[in-house]
C-alpha cells in the first residue's frame, strides 16, 4: 500500500516549504477535501470535472499525490490500496491524514484571507474569493496565526462556511445537497453555490434561495432530475443544479408570512 507507506513520516506543513508541494498540488488537495465532504464516492472523473481539466491531467496529478503519500486511491468497499491507473473498475480517492492536514490548513488560510479581505479591506465577496485563492498558498503559519488573532478568531468565512481551527477541526453543520434527497423529504435551503452568479440570480428570481422550504416529491432514477415543490410551484431540477443547492433539516428560520419564499427578516413590505 504505497499510500500508507510513508504516512506518519510527515507531520508538519514545513515539508511544503521544502518544495514538496506545488501550488497546483495544493489546489488538488483542497478540491479533493471539499469534494470528499460532499460526495460519498470520489472518482477521478468527478475531480477532473471540478478542476476543469481533462481526466488524464487529473489522473497524472493523482499519481503524483499518491506517490508523495497525500492520497490513497482504492476500489470501493475492498479497502485494498492499488496503484493509480490500473484496472477499469471505478475506484475512489481518499485523502491520507497527511493530505487532509494540508487541505484543512489551506482551507483555513483561504477563509481567513477572505475574512481579512472583506472585513478589513472592504473587497466584495467575489474579488475576495479570487484574491484568497492566491493568498492561501503564500501565507506562513505565523502570519496565519496573527491573522486569525487580528480578526478575532472568526468561525465562518464571509460566505458562511466554517473556518477550521489551528488544529484543523471544523464546526460541522449538518447540510446536504438537494440531489441526495429521497421522495417526500423536506428541508430548508441553507445556501446556493455561487460559482455561477447567473444561475444563482435566476434561481433567486424563482424564489429558490436560502431559508426557503423545499420538498422533493419525485426523484427520477439513474441520476435523473428531481421534482421539487417550493411554495405553490413545482420545478423539475436537473441533478447538476440540485447538487448546487445545499439544505439543512427543519423549516426555515425567519420566514415571512407567505407560504412562498419569505424575507429573511420577516418584514411585510408595504
Amino acid at each position: 500500500m504505497p499510500g500508507l507507506a510513508r504516512e506518519g513520516e510527515v507531520r508538519d506543513m514545513e515539508d511544503r516549504s521544502a518544495g514538496m508541494l506545488t501550488e497546483k498540488m495544493e489546489e488538488y488537495l483542497e478540491a479533493l477535501f471539499k469534494l470528499g465532504r460532499e460526495e460519498s464516492a470520489l472518482t477521478p472523473t468527478r475531480l477532473a470535472e471540478y478542476m476543469k481539466v481533462t481526466p488524464p491531467t487529473a489522473l497524472d496529478m493523482l499519481r503524483r499525490l499518491e506517490k508523495e503519500g497525500y492520497i490513497r486511491y482504492q476500489g470501493p468497499g475492498t479497502g485494498k490500496g492499488r496503484g493509480v491507473g490500473s484496472g477499469k473498475a471505478k475506484r475512489i480517492i481518499v485523502l491520507t491524514p497527511k493530505g487532509e492536514r494540508v487541505a484543512r490548513t489551506l482551507i483555513r488560510r483561504h477563509r481567513l484571507s477572505e475574512r481579512f479581505l472583506t472585513d478589513m479591506l472592504g473587497l466584495d465577496w467575489e474579488s475576495a474569493h479570487r484574491e484568497a485563492c492566491r493568498l492561501e498558498h503564500v501565507i506562513s503559519p505565523e502570519v496565519e496565526e496573527k491573522l486569525s488573532k487580528v480578526l478575532g478568531n472568526p468561525e465562518t468565512c464571509p460566505h458562511g462556511y466554517p473556518i477550521p481551527d489551528e488544529n484543523g477541526n471544523m464546526a460541522e453543520e449538518e447540510i446536504k445537497p438537494l440531489c441526495d434527497f429521497c421522495p417526500d423529504e423536506k428541508g430548508c435551503i441553507a445556501r446556493v453555490e455561487e460559482e455561477e452568479p447567473q444561475l444563482l440570480q435566476y434561481l433567486a428570481s424563482l424564489g429558490v434561495m436560502p431559508d426557503v422550504d423545499v420538498e422533493v416529491t419525485e426523484v427520477a432514477p439513474f441520476g435523473g432530475p428531481l421534482l421539487v415543490r417550493i411554495g405553490d410551484a413545482q420545478y423539475a431540477l436537473g441533478r447538476e443544479v440540485a447538487a448546487k443547492i445545499w439544505t439543512r433539516k427543519g423549516p426555515g428560520r425567519g420566514r415571512g408570512r407567505g407560504k412562498g419564499p419569505g424575507p429573511r427578516r420577516g418584514h411585510a413590505g408595504r
Binding site: G122, D124, W125, G160, E194, Q198, L199, L200, Q201, Y202, L203, A204, S205, L206, G207, M209, P210, E218, A220, P221, F222, G223, G224, P225, L227, G231, D232, A233, Q234, Y235, A236, L237, G238, R239, E240, V241, G256, R257, G258, K259, G260, P261, G262, P263, R264, R265, H267, A268, G269, R270
Partner: protein, 672 residues
Amino acid sequence: MQVLEELEKLHARADYVFALAGNPNVGKSTIFGRITGLGVMTANYPGMTVELNLALTEFEGRRLGIVDLPGTYALGAVSEDQLVARRGVLQGKPDVVIVILDANNLARNLYLLLQFLDLGFPVVAALNLVDQAEKSGIHTDVGLLSEYLGVPVVPTVGVRGDGLNQLMAQAVEVAELKEEYPVIPFSYAMDIETRLRRLARRIQGEMKDLPYGISPRALAILLLEEDREFVEWMQGREEGRKILEYARRLASEIEGEHGEKAPVILARERHGIAGSIAEGVQVRQEYRKPLLGERLWEYTTSFRTGLPILVLALGAVFGALFWGGGELASLFSRFWENLVSNPLGRLLDSALGANLLSRTILWGVDGLGAVLEIALPYLLVFYVILAVMEDSGYLNAVAFLTDRLMHRLGLHGRAIIPMITAVGCNVPAVMGTRVLSTRRERVIACALIVLVPCSARVAVIMGGVARFVGWPYALLLFAVLLLLVVGAGLLLNHVLPGESAGLVMEMFPFRAPSLANIARKTWLRIRDFLYIAAPLIVAGSVALGLLYESGWIEHLVGPLRPLTEWWLGIPAVAGLALVLGFLRKELALALLVVLAARVIPGVTESSTLLDFMTRGQIFTFVLVCSIYIPCVATLAVLWRELGPRDSLLVAASTVVLALLLGGLSHLVVALL
C-alpha cells in the same frame, strides 16, 4: 424584422400600445390570441432568438397595439427571454403593461408584477385561471388584491374568453386617465429603501438622460441588482462611473448587513412582499380531493407508471401520424390532381406546347404538389398533436422523464420537444431549437435533428427497403439511424467544449387545452413551414426539372462513377438520384427509376427497382439517402439558426457519415 422599427410603426398606427407580460404557462398566448386574432408580426433583436410578437387590434373604436413579451419569471439580464422581455417593454414604452397572473400560484407570479412597478410602468393585472384555482380550493379576494397592489385587477378565464373585455376596457381607461392611475412604487425594507433613495437622488442630480428614459429610482434598483446591461451603460460615462462606485459601496453595505449579495436580497424582498400579499388576499381550503388532472399528472411523472405511459403515448402519436397523415395525404393528392395539376398541365400544353419551358414549369407545380401531398398532411396531424401535448402540459412530463437520457447527449429534457418535432419535418424542428438556452445545446440539437428521419425519408425507407428488401431490413435501418443519433450525441457532448446547462423547468398539473389555441399554434407553425420550406422545394423542383428536361442530367453521371460504383457499389445513376435528392428527398426513389430508364438500357419508367439493382444495393442507397443532409430547406434553416460555419459543418459531417456507412454497407453486402 428590426424590433425598434416595428415598435415605432406600431406606435404610429395605434392610439395606445399595451404590453402583455406574464410567467410562462399562465395562458398568456391564449389571451394574446383571443385579443388579436391571427395577424401577428414577429420581430427579433439581432443576435437573439427569442421573439417579440406584435399585433394591431381594435377595441371599442380605438386602435390598440399589443406587444406580446416572452413569458418570463423575472426581468433580469440573466437569460435571453428575460432580456428580450425587458428590452421589449423598455423600448416599446407601452402605455399600460398588462400582467397576467396565475391565480394558482399568485405569490410567485406577483414577483414579475412588482418588477414592472419598480421600472415605473402603469400596470393592469389579469388574474387568470381563476376557474381552476377555485376548483382546487383557492379563493382570491380580487378587490383586496387590487387595493394592496395599487393597480386594477380583473379576474379572467383566458381559455373561455371570460373577463377579457373588462380587461381591455380597464387597460384603455388607465391609458386614457393617466392622472387617476398614478404609478405608486412599493417600498423595500427601511435600510434598503433608504439606500435606494440616496442612490436615486444622486442619479437625479448628476445624470442628465437615463437609459431608455427610465426613472432614477428604477435605475437605482437595477444598479443595486448589479444588472449587466445597465452597469455597462454606466461604465461608458464619466459621471456614470462615479455613481456606479457609489452603488457598489451601497451594495456591499447591504451585503454586510444581511450576509447575502444585494441582488439576492432585493429578490428576497420582492418575494417576501409578493408572498405576504398573496397570503393576505387568498383563502385556501386545506383538505380536498386531488383533481383528475393532478392525479393523472402524478401518474405521468412517476417513473414506474410514467415510462409505460410515455411509450404508449409515442406509439399513439406515430399511429395517428401514419393513419391520419395517410388519409389526409390521399385526400389532398386527389384534390390537387383533379383541381390543379392536371388542368394546369393541359393548359400549359395547349398554351406553350410540350417544350422545355412548359415541362420545367410542370416540375415546379409538381413540387408544390409534393408539399401539399407529402409534407403538409403529416405536419398538420403532427402539429395538432404537438399543440395538444404542449398545452395540456404533458410535454413537460416527457421532458422530465427523458432529461437523464438527453443529458448524456449533451442536451436536457426540454430538447425532447424539437427532437420529436423532427419526425414530422426537420425544418420546424431546427427552428424549435430556440427553446434551448445555450449555443452549445442548439448546435448539438440541430446536429441530432438532421439525423432523425423526417416524413419524406420515412417514405423513402418504406417505399425502398420495406417494399423491396423486406420489413426486418427497414427496422434495421431505423435502428441504425437511432444508434447514429445517440452516438452523435455522445460524441458531440464529449468533443464540444463546455457542459450542458442544467434543467430548471416549472411543472404544472394538466390543463384542458383550448381548441382555438391549438388551431392558432398549428396555423402559425404551418405558416412558418410554408414560408420557408415551400419556396425552396418549388425552386429545387424547377432546377431539377431543368436539368432533367434539358438532358444535362446525363452528363453528371460520369464524374460520380468512382464514388458510386466503386465505393458504394451502386449503379452510377443511383448516385445521381442521391445528389438530386438534396433538392427533393422524397423523390429519390422515383427519380432513380426515371433516371435509370434514360441511362440503363432495358429499363423503362414502369420498371421496379429490383430490375436494375440488387436488394443489397437498394439498402445501401436508402441508407445513404436517409443520412446525408436532409434537404435544401433544412440546410437553409440551419444556416439561419446556426450561421454559415456550423451549419456547413453539420451538413458536411452528415455527408461524410453517409458515405462512410454506405461504404460499410457495400462491404457487408459484398461479403454476404
